[in-house]
Amino acid sequence: MNQLIHKQENKTELMAQDQLRQYLTFQAGNENLAISILDVKEIIEINTITDVPMTPDYIRGVINLRGNVVPVIDLSARLGRQSSEITKRSCIVLVQVEYKEDAQLLGMLVDAVDEILEIPEANIMPPPDFGADIRTDFIQSMGRVGDEFIILLNINRVLSIKELSQLKQVADYESGNASKEASFSALN
């Protein structure tokens, strides 16, 4: 893990243009995914995650990051798959997303972090209209590495605070607890 971080630091000295094409690849829900390295703040190992009750599955809980409380999102669950099991290789990728002109630090629980890849501009393709079982707006583009395609995630969409905090109520729905809106519409 430390190696990874070192690597990342060394690369920061490179030209910004090169950086644009660097991606951190990781696994979540048995799938190879990647995000732009510029979105990654830090990669940490998992200590204790405190569960936050009354939240949907994809909100895994909160952790203590040097005295600050940071929410952790279960990426696999967020993409509509099973909740991740925590294993030896599980990691939390810390990313920063913008919300109402504020930056919010979020942890992203992934099954394993692989490597940092350089994908040339020419190998980056637009996302398919359908076919991927991930919401299309979550996919920024597809990156071709050798003979395979890796999904490059649009982190500001996947971890959109607006949506995450809204969807909470949908989750309430699903577990059978009528939310306020539900009761109103029922009354109408």
Binding site: T48, P53, M54, T55, N64, V69, S165, S175, S183
Partner: protein, 729 residues
């Protein structure tokens, strides 16, 4: 603010404070139009701003404030009466001054835009034009009236100025005519008596017809001040010893003025007496010269000399000395205050928070390793940390009074605009709470006060018809109650009409036609979005946005809001708020291996759950607590519905109280009290009810802080979704 230099920043702060003081004083004048304190403070504000602006070369500010100052000086001297109109103009002047200063602060080199110039001119015209029209004529009448009054009082010989003129022998030779002075004196007032003494009259054969041997003692009644009287004898100064003793009635006047003197800096006795007009500069200079000239070792202090020389009465001098002492003390006290950058203070509080956490971690280690000799040191330190925490939090505590008094202006302006007569009563302004809370409560409070002004209080005609006094009253009250602060906004207006609210709510689809709601549930409906019972929207309120925002803002501060009303009698809105946002005393419990913090101020008691005594089963969620029904929540089950739980043998019931209601939480284990540093959960959990925040435990783990009220409401909704609205407790 960052791009202006520090001196200007200080200047802008000073101006802000002065203008705030001025506004307060102006509004104070509404109630007591001739409060010298208020007038002085308004004058001082304009005067100081003028001076400071001059330093920075803001000529337009100087020019404008100078006009205002001139008018205020006349008011101060009693030449112009303060009326509501003048107060309004002065309020406008205050706002305008702030505006032009803002302009210069940010565009230092640019000239004032024409619009502001025009405004300046218009205000000056209002100020001075009015003074010509309103002040001009009546003031002369006033003078005349006073004049007659003095005439009536002439029988009281003690109420006269006593002027002693001791002409020197060659006065006549130098062209002085004592009689001409006395004649001129008559233009200022009435000479009641003249006693002529001739203490130096030589024998007749030694007399020089060109010498003057006459001394005059004149009993003189006039409203003119000492300075003016002294000016009469200005030319005679060199040839005549003049003492002017103020009348006894003046004495009280001086005493009053002395009491009103601003206490901002230590002045010398002479300066103080000049300022109130009891002495003139000449008299002081003269006396001081004499004091210096006197080679005698035991020179008398200035005060004593003044009394001896019959220039001033003893009590005035004594009072002045007392005042001087008081001011000295006050100035000393004031210099003990330090202005601190709020950001630095925030940083300190954060550090203290970290300190508390590491203290807890150390405690944990000490216990874990059983280091008994370290134990003493550790407990001393935790006491100190606790003290530091309390002191640090105290630093941020401010009185809510200042926020309250700001509403005087709102009430003043709005009631004028609406043509209503409304007074604002403030009580409990000394209640303290965290500065961040004060800042954030300002907007909701403004909204509520405006609501009361607009919707609550009726027009004078309506009020009279309803048999109420013409003048409506809005009350702002604050007090502490079990670790929280309670703020009440009440008015004696028309109150809320339950039927109207229900009708509107039904129209909006918020409730069903046949739904039975209690009174408090109905009143609580006004906090729902889109509900305003006012038919027509004014520019103040009535668009139905607002009350829901008010509620949301208050709940964001971990507070609660409730309404009570009596149709035709008035409405009271009650806000409960925590005193601070940073650290609370918490009570830690454990349920299903997760730790939770309940704010200690809400914990009423802890009871052991004994399954033999308490009939607890899974269908029934209440217990009999000493004869009362107590609903409870099993925290573990409630939070983790989908998991299977094994209940431990010994469970505990934590009884919590919020407002009037009580409820119980069933937990697996009690961990006791601890200091809880509140860490925000962030935007992601904005919509999460029931969890108020998080904290970092000594072990480094995160524990969640329960929002008791939110949690109970959440539970209520689940039990009966149609009751979702009756969130009032």
């Amino acid at each position: 603010m960052s791009d202006i230099n520090p001196a200007l920043e200080t200047f802008s702060q000073e101006v802000d404070e002065l203008l705030a003081a001025m506004e307060e004083a102006l509004l104070g004048l509404e109630g007591t139009p001739d409060d010298a304190d208020c007038i002085n403070s308004i004058f001082r504000a304009m005067h100081t701003i003028k001076g400071s602006s001059g330093l920075f070369g803001f000529d337009d500010v100087v020019a404008f404030t100078h006009e205002a100052e001139t008018v205020l000086d006349r008011v101060r001297n009693g030449e112009r009466a303060i009326d509501a109109e003048l107060v309004s103009v002065l309020l406008a002047c205050k706002d305008h001054t702030a505006q032009i200063i803002q302009h210069f602060l940010f565009n230092e080199d640019e000239p004032l835009p024409e619009s502001l110039h025009q405004q300046s001119r218009a205000l000056i015209a209002q100020l001075t034009g009015q003074s010509a029209a309103v002040g001009g004529m009546p003031s002369t009448q006033e003078e005349k009236a006073d004049h007659f009054e003095v005439d009536d009082n002439t029988t009281d010989s003690s109420d006269n100025w006593v002027i002693s003129l001791a002409f020197k022998q060659n006065a006549l030779r130098n062209g002085m005519d004592p009689l001409s002075f006395i004649r001129y004196l008559q233009t200022l007032g009435k000479i009641n008596e003249v006693i002529i003494t001739m203490p130096t009259l030589p024998r007749i054969e030694d007399m020089d017809p060109e010498d003057c041997y006459l001394n005059f003692k004149i009993a003189f009644s006039s409203n003119a001040d000492k300075r003016t009287i002294e000016d009469v004898f200005e030319f005679a100064e060199d040839d005549c010893d003049i003492t002017i003793l103020p009348p006894n009635s003046r004495q009280e006047h001086y005493l009053q003025l002395l009491a009103d003197l601003p206490e901002d800096q230590v002045k010398r006795l002479g300066e103080m007496l000049i300022e109130i007009g009891a002495l003139t500069e000449k008299e002081v200079a003269h006396t001081l010269n004499e004091q210096c000239a006197d080679d005698n070792l035991d020179t008398k202090p200035l005060g004593e000399m003044l009394v001896d020389k019959n220039i001033l009465q003893q009590p005035v001098v004594e009072q002045a000395l007392k005042k001087q002492e008081a001011v000295k003390q006050k100035v000393n006290k004031e210099s003990n205050y330090i202005r601190v950058d709020a950001a630095k203070l925030g940083y300190l509080i954060n550090l203290v928070g970290e300190l508390v956490i590491s203290g807890a971690a150390m405690r944990l280690m000490v216990d874990k390793h059983g280091l008994s000799d370290v134990d003493d040191v550790a407990s001393t330190m935790s006491h100190l940390v606790e003290d530091i925490r309390d002191t640090a939090l105290q630093l941020r505590m401010v009185q809510i009074g200042e926020t309250f008094t700001r509403f005087q202006r709102v009430v003043h302006d709005v009631s004028k605009e609406l043509g209503k007569q409304i007074q604002l009563q403030i009580t409990g302004g000394e209640s303290e709470l965290d500065k961040t809370v004060v800042e954030k409560i300002n907007d909701p409070l403004t909204h509520l006060v405006r609501n009361s002004l607009d919707h609550g209080i009726e027009t004078p005609a309506e009020r009279l018809r309803a048999g109420k006094p013409e003048k409506g009253t809005i009350q702002l009250n604050a007090y502490h109650d079990s670790g929280r602060i309670v703020i009440q906004i009440s008015d004696d207006g028309k109150g809320l009409d339950p039927e109207k609210i229900v009708a509107k709510a039904v129209a909006k689809g918020l409730v069903k036609q046949d739904q039975v709601l209690s009174k408090s549930e109905i009143y609580h409906l006004i906090f729902e979005p889109g509900l305003s019972t006012k038919e027509e929207a004014s520019n103040l309120s009535g668009r139905g946005v607002g009350m829901d925002v008010v509620k949301r803002n208050i709940e964001a501060l971990r507070g609660s809001v409730s309404v009570d009303s009596e149709l035709g009698q008035g409405t009271t809105v009650t806000i409960h708020l925590p005193l601070t946002l940073a650290i609370i005393d918490g009570f830690m419990v454990e349920a299903q291996k997760e730790r939770y913090i309940i704010p200690l101020s809400m914990v009423e008691e802890c009871v052991e759950m004994n399954s033999d005594e308490w009939q607890i089963d899974d269908t029934q969620h209440y217990v009999n607590l000493r004869g009362q029904v107590l609903p409870y929540l099993r925290l573990g089950d409630f939070f983790h519905k989908n998991k299977k739980h094994t209940h431990t043998q010994r469970e505990s019931l934590v009884v919590v109280r919020f407002g009037e209601a009580k409820a119980g939480f069933v937990v697996d284990e009690l961990h006791g009290e601890n200091q809880t540093v509140i860490k925000p959960l962030g935007k992601l959990f904005e919509n999460l009810n029931g969890i108020g925040g998080a904290t970092v435990l000594g072990s480094g783990d995160v524990a969640l802080i329960l929002d008791v009220q939110g949690l109970i409401q959440h539970a209520k909704k689940q039990v009966n979704p149609t009751l979702a609205l009756s969130s009032s407790v």
